[in-house]
Symmetry: none
Subunit: 249 residues, 2 copies
Amino acid sequence: MIKEERQRLIIEKLNRDQKINLLELSQLLNVSYDSIRRDVIELEDKGLLKKVHGGAVANSYLSFKNTHNSSADQQEVVMLTRKAQKLFYNHQTILMDGGTTNFHIAEQFPKNLEMTVITNSLPLAAVLNEHPKIETILLGGTYHKRYQITIGNQVMKQLEHIRVDLYLMGFNGLDPEVGVTLRHYEESVLKQKMAQAAKKVAICAITEKLHTVETYKVCDLQDIDILITSLKPSDVTLNAFRQQGIELI
Amino acid sequence: MIKEERQRLIIEKLNRDQKINLLELSQLLNVSYDSIRRDVIELEDKGLLKKVHGGAVANSYLSFKNTHNSSADQQEVVMLTRKAQKLFYNHQTILMDGGTTNFHIAEQFPKNLEMTVITNSLPLAAVLNEHPKIETILLGGTYHKRYQITIGNQVMKQLEHIRVDLYLMGFNGLDPEVGVTLRHYEESVLKQKMAQAAKKVAICAITEKLHTVETYKVCDLQDIDILITSLKPSDVTLNAFRQQGIELI
DNA sequence: CTTTTTTTTGCATTTTTTTGCAAAGAATTT
DNA sequence: AAATTCTTTGCAAAAAAATGCAAAAAAAAG
């Protein structure tokens, strides 16, 4: 039995039962306790589960994401959102808008992170409920039911009085030529305003979004300060970003 | 049985029954009393429940789905929220704050009701997602994690520019002598401001809340325009309300 | 095809965590 | 105030995790 197969079986069992027991599993797969334990350590490093005393439990944020993404995409998202954690320090104030990526990043905030998060996304505020040390400020406005965010003039006005350390921008398309683009007009205007309210702008781009262009333009490449991507440093696509002086993670 | 599984089961049982007994639970899960108690301590640290003498109770002050009240209470809530529907017409703009009662009322809005709802409650906004014809406006501000509402100066400021037809006020205690009272100071101030922004103020009082007095006063009886109650019209308690010219439903 | 290198695996030892127990202290009830 | 019930505390046994090491297996190199 090769390692990869074992690990695949572990993940499968975990998805079924929500929890696994190391001893039980080692007997079931007929390998030593240590091998299983090492597998679980590896899987935890990949962010695919959470190790606990006596076994492992499913990573909650992965379970309901299964629906729309392939497992390869999932792994990329896990990796990217982990990388993104480098952006956050105690006593910062950051601005985050809606979108699944931002949602997953917020889910993975360290529990002891002391920060202020300003957002117009209701799911994000709900997730931050789990992080007692994070102060959440919600931007009020007309509630957009589909995207579950607030939009409109009132949000814009509140942004005028705000100055934050970092803006983590959600988006639909990123192209070296065109810049950052979006499907929804009102949001694109809002994001421009948000970018103005921040000292730095960061975006987190899964490979799927690179080289795609959507209808409404948010900003140019040069307006982005930090890009989080899973592309290898050698990738030619990154040259365009480097030329704009964008910090790559 | 690993610790995490036990704790998950504890939370599940807690969500079902709203309260748990340590001894009973230790027998059920077949572990020592001490282990269960230590689990409960950990869960309390995580803010997932509240420890009480001999057991634990659900922490979520707003555990909407399964109310911790008796079935008699539940029936009363259902009846009251039905009655409350009389207050709503098309093309109105109303203000609603947090609390379970308002939540249940919003749940029962007719699907074809065309209305604008302004609120500082996130669960309420989430519920209104199910009502396509209702426009929801969210008041922005500091997010209060426990009550799941926005509070603070920013909310107050937005209220200054608002004038609505009706304010449906949530509250903790209603007494003919003292008036409307609340447990939470900041909210009580906010509710005063909300009342000022509305042409009419309505409250929906389950019998349990009548004659109870909490720490912070929101307003006098005379500031209330409409009271929804399940008391019989002959009940003497209602006389005080009638004298203040309050419309009874 | 053999040798070398790397990876994987299992085992023994140490360290840490968890668990159950008992005695002492609080809180609650009668 | 006494009795009962629950909590807290310290402790020791048990369970599990981490660590270091060597044998076995697999992969790479010659």
